[in-house]
């Protein structure tokens, strides 16, 4: 090994072959199996996830090297716009390689670094790339719970890489010391490993900064140079630390070390409190704390005063940790926490609510009632017609100018029958209408749409339909 300065050891000692990749046997075999089958695989992309420095990128590079792929590598910080992604796609699809490889593989590194807001379009571009690509695509991410990755769940196979063990890390650091001809103090190595919490890249960087240019690594110098490092806790560790905390300061400290922000934490807690606390009194106390925390968050939105956030956090962390009074051993039970269902349901719920609101507005206009009366009194009765008499339901839907989504909401399991009637009736009404236009009815409904502000853009298309919603 050469002794030249300036090359990061993380690069210098990067694995060239699969055997050199430390541990991760399960992930290795999964990736190879997937690659061998490609493109006859159920999902055309792979997402490797795991804590920083556990070997995700190294694994991909080693495989590419060993199996003779040209690796087309993009880092999250490189690709920002759709055009960048299109450029890679083009490079990957050209059949001849400059370097004599005949196979290509695309690596999109640190994909959870993409911001939905700043890198607008990037995720859509990745989706498109996955669908079109004629080279295998491997992505890496630290945090599989990242909101951005949700849309990739259906498109990519998720493969987990584990945090490296201390033994594995020790043997790697020893190897480097030997290659660099450094005498290595075991306590110093242990200190570095302890500090890195399974992040081999961090450990190698640390070793380089205390060891390079010296002939010996001592604990004294290591401690002097390397101060303990803060690490972010994933959602599971976050919950575990909150529930098991015995003092308020312990619980309160968690929020600063967590990958979850307070909004996400709120939902994770909501989902998992009942799994951790089985005693009803403890459960009620915990939910009361969460409910009050949530109330403060609502007040922040109302007043714009962020000083209130600290009360919300006190309640969400310490408040919940100290709720287990009756059955305090529950605090330490090992629980398989679950992902908040409501995050998955949120968009669906939002859509359904807006459909219901739109129906209520139409009913309120026609029947001259408040939308609240429309929702609570009229919609339930309308639903009974939709579940009992499909033809009548279709006629009413046409009469009131409901969209197909609105019909689906009201119809439940009956929706297909009603929609068939509805489309048939609509066709006949339109042809009928062509022969006999009726002016005053039309202007009446135009006024309705102006007053409610519905369907501004689709006014023209739906004109014929609305023209019949009112009898002269």
């Amino acid at each position: 090994m050469s002794h030249e300065r300036g090359i990061p050891w993380t690069l210098k000692y990067r694995p060239k072959t699969l055997i050199e990749v430390i541990d991760q046997e399960e992930a290795k075999s999964k990736v190879i199996e997937w690659l061998n089958k490609w493109p006859n695989v159920s999902k055309k992309a792979l997402l490797l996830y795991g804590p920083p420095g556990c070997g995700k990128t190294s694994l991909v590079e080693a495989i590419a090297n060993e199996y003779g792929y040209e690796l087309i590598e993009m880092n999250a910080s490189d690709f920002r716009r759709k055009t960048d992604i299109e450029r890679i796609a083009l490079r990957a699809s050209t059949s001849h390689s400059l370097f004599g490889f005949n196979k290509k593989m695309i690596l999109l590194d640190e994909i959870d670094g993409i911001s939905a807001r700043e890198d607008e379009g990037a995720l859509e571009a990745i989706q498109e790339l996955i669908e079109k690509s004629n080279a295998p695509i491997i992505m890496t991410a630290n945090n599989p719970w990242n909101q951005n990755l949700r849309i990739l769940r259906d498109l990519a196979e998720f493969v987990q890489l584990k945090k490296l063990t201390k033994t594995d890390m020790r043997s790697m650091l020893m190897r480097i010391c030997k290659a660099e001809k450094i005498i290595c103090n075991e306590d110093a190595i242990n200190y570095i490993i302890e500090r890195s919490e399974g992040d081999l890249r961090a450990a190698i960087n640390d070793l380089q900064s205390v060891g390079e240019g010296f002939s010996e690594v001592t604990l004294e110098r290591t401690k002097l140079l390397l101060r303990p490092r803060d690490k972010e806790k994933d959602p599971f560790e976050t919950l575990r630390s909150i529930f098991s905390a015995n003092y308020s300061w312990q619980a309160k400290a968690v929020i600063n070390q967590s990958q979850l922000d307070y909004e996400q934490l709120k939902m994770w807690l909501e989902e998992n409190i009942p799994l951790q606390y089985t005693n009803l009194e403890d459960l009620e106390r915990a939910f009361e704390a969460l409910s009050k925390a949530d109330l403060y968050i609502g007040r922040i939105a109302k007043t714009g005063d962020w000083d209130l956030l600290s009360y919300a956090i006190d309640l969400m962390t310490a408040g919940i940790a100290l709720s287990a009074k009756n059955s305090s051993k529950d605090k330490y039970r090992w629980i398989k926490y679950s992902f908040p269902q409501r995050i998955l349901l949120a968009s669906k719920l939002k859509e359904i609510r807006s459909i219901r609101d739109d129906i209520a507005q139409i009913l309120a206009y026609h029947l001259h009632v408040s939308t609240s009366v429309a929702k609570n009194e009229i919609i339930p009765l309308l639903k009974t017609i939709f579940t009992t008499d499909p033809l009548k339901a279709a006629k009413i839907a046409l009469g009131l100018g409901f969209t197909e989504k609105m019909i689906e909401y009201l119809a439940g399991t009956n929706k297909n029958t009603i929609l068939e009637h509805y489309r048939e009736l609509k066709k006949r009404v339109v042809s009928h209408h062509r022969s006999k236009p009726s002016k005053s009815i039309e202007s009446n409904n135009e006024m309705y749409k102006e007053s409610v502000g519905l369907n501004k853009n689709s006014k023209k298309e739906e004109r014929n339909l609305f023209a019949f919603s009112k009898k002269k």
Partner: protein, 325 residues
Amino acid sequence: MSEKFIELLWAEKYRPRSLKDIVNQEEIVKRLLKFVEEKNMPHLLFAGPPGTGKTTAALALAYDLYGNEWRRYVLELNASDERGITVIRNKVKEFARSKLPGDTPFKIVILDEADNMTADAQQALRRIMEMYVETTRFILIANYPSKIIDPIQSRCASFRFTPLKKEDVIGRLHWICRQENIKCLDDGLEVIYEISGGDMRKAINILQSTAALGEVSVGNVYKVIGLAHPREIREILNLALLGKFIEARDKLRDLMVVYGLSGVDVVKQMHREIFSADIKIPEEIRVILAEYIGEIHFRIIEGADDEIQLTALLARIALLGRKVS
């Protein structure tokens, strides 16, 4: 013509268009017809129980004044939908500003559910009513006139709508059935009257839903009512009271996704349910539950998150359920 392709809601289809078509509230109608004749009117306050013809009278008055194009001269607002007096002020201002054609002396603002406004909002409304009085007359509609502040009452000609007589409601339902060629049984109509509590709009809506099942019989009426009031909320409450917290929560989630209910909708329905005989709990517990529910309702309108608040409520109910069992 397009009759065979479309159907209207009967509450709309059979709403009297003109004052002359209104059969009840004779005294009021007589007075309103005078306003039409004179083409002038003061601000009006219509008060009375739901479904007694207040909104119908207001709309018919507008129709008789302006004819088919009445919607051009009428601004309909619902105090429970228009959040805040500033929204109302802006809408009224914009409406009052637009020009009137030739001989029309004024425009009308119909403000429904006016008794839902706070006293402060009503004070502000009073000023708006004065500011635009030259071009705009208000018809305020309320269930409870006592909730309308005195300064407004004294500026309005007040009309009290009396509850409809049983035979009037049933007579109307009969008439609609004849128009629609629906077979109806007398006791079926009677049950509709009982359930609707004399509210004509409610009665007509129930009639139309029942007709979708076939004849209007007692059995079919109850069937419709059963379908329209799903038991899920009751089941959720009962699960929680039995201490089956997670089941109750999951069911609540399903319910919210299927029906698209908001937190406040759920809270209100729960509030209705806790006093029903199907929830078997000691009487004093109903009051304690009401207070819990009220507190959660308050937190939601304070800006808290629907689902967290409802889940916290279920946790409380579960605890309460265990204490009483």
